[in-house]
């Protein structure tokens, strides 16, 4: 188990968001855009690598790290994708070294996403060597039928083999990703997935309700009426995850995330707490130095921009105190610990309108929200409608 922030050591089982308000962590996200095939549900930017792409990519990362000029301690690193695990050991090693050369000190938490098929001993060894602490494994399901429905190419046995190898390589922390509400999936199948996942004993679980993103194969099937969405089913699956995982000793700390106490993903808590992160690689998003922005999605586009000395130039948003305060509430409420309203206001030096208090009271009356002094948090029912609440918060906060 990793501690992500030194100040937490003295306190017993702290609520993660409290801690993050105290320290000022910086996270680094590295997007590795390569996949061997495209999953039916995936809307993330990724491409099938051509010869020489890995080197061009790594050269780009080197250039971007130069431009980003990181000059302070970095709390967390997260490699996502795409499939970072698709990189050969040598490339993994070079990517790690590029980073380490730029960081004043090694990060306390360093996560790499892998698919079961991409997990190889040599790769794991390379990752351990450069200082990676945490593997996030895209298991998705243990049911062969559902794996096929999702367009995943690994057989279920590959998941067990992968977990075994990760264990033996000696990583401190392991996350398993699960997807639910797959068309045709029964509640029993979902229970079986949860049970098989917890039986493997990871210290972290992410459970994602299948969403139909535009530009995915599933979205096309949905619009053609070949699959359908069922809200009641989604609700029962969400509830099932909450109950079953709690019984197995995992504490929900965000809508889709569960962890053994202390094993929460510090990198993501940093994001939801509206702190700072620097995104490296095509399509990677940053929130740093007064701006929010993203790199272009596309290896060549990204490299072109870097050549012109530009990064995080897409979707640029100026980070004003009002925007950060509003987003702190919207995204803070997605966490089970909730968020401290007065503290957010003080942190960003803003004054929330009276309407906010009125609305919070209404939600309390509707049993969507609980209050504990300055702290607000959603009830189980509130979590189910978090997006609607978020939209209403933005409506009040401008």
């Amino acid at each position: 188990m990793t501690s992500f922030c030194t100040t937490t050591a003295a306190r017993p089982a702290p609520e993660p968001s409290v801690v993050l308000a105290d320290c000022r962590p910086l996270g680094i996200y590295v997007h590795v855009p390569f996949c061997s095939s495209t999953c039916d549900f995936c809307a993330f930017y990724q491409e099938t690598p051509a010869r020489g792409d890995f080197d061009r990519y790594l050269d780009g990362v080197e250039r971007e790290l130069e431009l980003a000029a990181i000059d302070e301690p970095v709390a967390t690193v997260f490699w996502g994708g795409g499939t970072p695990g698709l990189l050969p050991p040598s490339a993994l090693r070079r990517l790690g070294e590029l980073l380490r050369a730029r960081l004043p000190s090694p990060p306390a938490e360093w996560t790499v996403e892998m698919t079961p098929s991409s997990v190889k001993e040599e790769k794991l060894a390379a990752l351990r060597e450069i200082g990676v602490t945490r593997i996030s494994l895209g298991a998705q399901s243990f049911q062969p039928r559902l794996l096929e429905a999702l367009g995943r190419l690994h057989p279920r046995e590959r998941i067990f083999e992968a977990v075994d190898k990760i264990r033996r390589a000696g990583f401190a922390s392991l996350n398993l990703d699960l997807i639910f509400s797959i068309p045709g999936q029964s509640l029993d199948e979902w229970r079986a997935d949860l049970d098989e996942a917890t039986a493997l004993g990871p210290d972290h679980l992410s459970t994602y309700c299948l969403t139909f993103e535009e530009d995915t194969a599933l979205y096309v099937k949905l619009s053609q009426g070949r699959v359908s969405m069922d809200m009641e089913k989604e609700v029962s699956f969400l509830r099932e995850a909450e109950c079953r995982l709690a019984a197995a000793g995992y504490r929900q700390y965000e809508i889709s995330n569960y962890a053994r106490p202390g094993a929460e993903c510090a990198h993501n808590l940093n994001t939801w707490g509206m702190h700072r992160w620097i995104g490296i690689g095509p399509a990677a998003a940053s929130q740093d130095r007064g701006w929010r922005g993203a790199n272009p999605a596309g290896l060549d586009l990204w490299l072109d921009k870097l050549a012109a000395g530009e990064r995080a130039g897409e979707d640029r948003v100026l980070l004003t105190p009002d925007l950060l305060a509003a987003d702190s509430l919207v995204f803070g409420l997605r966490m089970n610990a909730g968020v401290e309203v007065g503290r957010v206001a003080a942190r960003f030096g803003v004054l929330f309108p009276d309407d906010l208090e009125r609305r919070l009271r209404e939600w309390e009356g509707d049993d969507l929200l609980e209050r504990d002094g300055d702290r607000i948090k959603l009830t189980a029912g509130g979590r189910l409608v978090a997006d609607r609440l978020g939209a209403e918060l933005l409506e009040i906060l401008g």
Binding site: N268, R292, A386, D387, R388, E395
Partner: protein, 598 residues
């Protein structure tokens, strides 16, 4: 021009019996317009009129006709509006004439409006010339029509002229009849100037143009005149006649029909049916038949986009320039924001105004339920008139409510009469008299509450008679009725735009239908919403909209924050366009759907 050679006449007919085609043919025959100039339906100049095949505004036109002996006649054709909403205008147009061509479709026969219009003409003592039109149609049934003429209208069949506006059959005969059967202008020897204003129009450059029929005396440019109803003085700037384009002249003498432009700038200051007289030597009596026109149907007009309020206001004021019978005043609704309470002559008038606001002024609007004027007798406080359910006093203070009724003439095929009678019953009407028109058709005379025919009566009549039924009506007296105000409450808050005044026997049924419709179209919200219909505080119908179950997306990491915010912003914008009723957000679309469904 001597009076003996002036004839003033109009054409009256049931809708679609060919009035406009015949008018065109008359203009063409007298070379008033050439074939080339003649676009179909020359006299109806508004787009809407052409589209709906109806005449809304009257346009007089003067023609020169030489009879068979070579005598030259000056004929003034006064077009009449073809709809019951404008029956006062029809009666004023008739008052400007000495005779009328009563047009009857040879295959359709006498219809409800034929009867109503013929009665209007008889009441004005006009000489009526029956014209059986479209006789060249294969379905023409002359025997039936001539029998109906005699039986229903008591007009000798031998007076009828057989004609076809389309192919020009009988046109000469019609002109001869107008010249020789119609009397020359009446009331010409009255000792002072009197002219009847039977319509007016607004011209951006000239201001108000009054269409007049001079009975006695002469109107000249530069004269000072007087509107007799309210003693408003004015100076004549221009006079002329229509041919059919306006032709300026120096004066309009007795018997003439034409236009007068004065220094009056707003049609609201002109009253249709008023008498113009000389200011220096005013007439002692007005021409007969003048009455103040009052709107019968009321509805709130609101902009769908609240920021269009000023645009709506401007469009109403511009419409009113040319339509004095449209009245409006600003009002506000909790649910719909700021808008206007408007009064109309009838349903068609309401529809036309609404269409013109949408088309000509490009304002998207929503109309509340149409209402009539109710008389509410309050305990110890006399009676008040109410045209908006919102102003209904508390039931405990009401002694009695009276509602306006209409006297209707309905024509129906014999085999649909059962359905028509049950429709009349359903609409709380009473059938007072039944008459056989021929083997296949009946004429019903009935009395119905006006508020019951506001919405779907005519459509239903048409549908159950497979299009063969027809109706015409006139307003009758107020009658006491067991009326109640039906309120709709969403999450216990009354929504004023959905309130209506209904008969007690219908409150529950209507309440149920409204609640069900609302429950269907108000989107789920964060909490459970009761939708209720209530009469005087007592709930008569109820539906519940269950709370929203799930609205959350699973993934939200660094790269998703911007995307997520955009999505939430979109949701927020969607909500902004909704109307807030208490805590409930009701989409504008819901109001439109519910109010339209009525």
């Amino acid at each position: 021009m001597d009076l003996k050679h002036i004839r003033n006449f109009c054409i009256i007919a049931h809708v679609d019996h060919g009035k406009t085609t015949l008018s065109d043919r008359l203009l063409e025959h007298t070379a008033t317009v050439t074939q080339r100039e003649l676009k179909a339906q020359h006299l109806d100049s508004m787009d809407l009129e052409r589209e709906r095949g109806i005449t809304i505004k009257c346009h007089p036109v003067s023609m020169i006709y030489r009879d068979k002996e070579g005598e030259k006649y000056f004929l003034n054709l006064i077009d009449t509006p073809g709809h019951v909403d404008f029956s006062y205008e029809v009666s004023r147009s008739l008052a400007a004439c000495e005779g009328a061509l009563l047009l009857i479709d040879a295959s359709q026969g006498v219809e409800a409006q034929t009867v109503a219009n013929a009665q209007l003409a008889f009441n004005q003592n006009l000489k009526v010339i029956p014209v059986i039109n479209k006789i060249d149609l294969p379905s023409a049934n002359l025997e039936m029509v001539t029998r109906q003429l005699e039986d229903i209208l008591a007009i000798p069949a031998e007076e009828a002229i057989l004609a076809s506006g389309k192919s020009g059959i009988g046109i000469d005969e019609i002109f001869e009849a107008v010249a020789h059967r119609l009397p020359s202008p009446r009331l010409a020897d009255y000792p002072a100037t009197r002219a009847l204003v039977f319509d007016c129009n607004f011209d951006t450059y000239k201001g108000v143009i009054c269409y007049v029929r001079v009975f006695s005396g002469t109107i000249r440019v530069g004269q000072h005149m007087l509107m007799m109803s309210d003693k408003v003085k004015m100076e004549v700037k221009e006079v002329g006649f229509f041919s059919p384009a306006p032709v300026k002249t120096h004066e309009l003498g007795p018997g003439r029909v034409g236009y007068v432009v004065t220094n009056i700038k707003s049609v609201a200051d002109i009253k249709i049916g008023d008498t113009i007289t000389g200011a220096d030597k005013p007439a002692a009596e007005m021409l007969p038949g003048y009455k103040e026109v009052r709107p019968m149907v009321f509805s709130g007009i609101y902009p769908i986009d609240t920021s269009d309020y000023e645009k709506l206001k401007a469009s109403l004021s511009r419409l009113r320039l040319n339509d004095a019978s449209l009245i409006y005043q600003s009002e506000s609704s909790v649910a719909l924001g700021f808008g206007f309470r408007c009064g109309f002559l009838g349903l068609l008038h309401m529809e036309i105004v609404q269409e013109r606001i949408r088309r000509e002024y490009d304002v998207d609007i929503i109309l509340t339920y149409p209402s009539v004027i109710y008389r509410v007798v309050q305990a110890g406080q006399g009676s008040i008139e109410i045209d908006n359910p919102v102003h209904m006093p508390d039931p405990s203070h009401i002694d009695e409510i009276l509602e306006p009724t209409i006297r209707a003439i309905i024509h129906t095929p014999v085999d649909s009469v059962g359905d028509v009678l049950s429709l009349i019953m359903d609409k709380r009407g009473i059938c007072e008299h039944t008459e056989t028109l021929d083997e296949t058709r009946l004429m019903l005379r009935c009395v119905l509450p006006l508020n019951e025919i506001l919405v779907d009566f005519y459509d239903r009549l048409k549908s159950i008679t497979h299009g063969y039924g027809s109706m015409d009506y006139e307003l009758a007296e107020y009658q006491p009725s067991d009326l109640v105000k039906l309120d709709i409450l969403v999450n216990s808050e009354p929504v004023d735009a959905f309130s209506s005044i209904v008969h007690r026997s219908k409150a529950e049924h209507k309440g149920r239908a409204l609640c069900a419709k609302l429950a269907e179209i108000i989107p789920q919200q964060l909490f459970k919403i009761p939708v209720q219909a209530a009469v005087g505080g007592k709930v008569v119908a109820r539906e519940t909209i269950s709370a929203l179950r799930k609205d959350v997306t699973a993934k939200c990491y660094g790269g998703d924050i911007t995307r997520k915010r955009k999505l939430l912003e979109k949701q927020k914008e969607g909500k902004k366009r909704m109307k807030q009723v208490g805590r409930v957000s009701i989409p504008q679309e819901a109001f439109v759907q519910v109010l339209r469904a009525q």
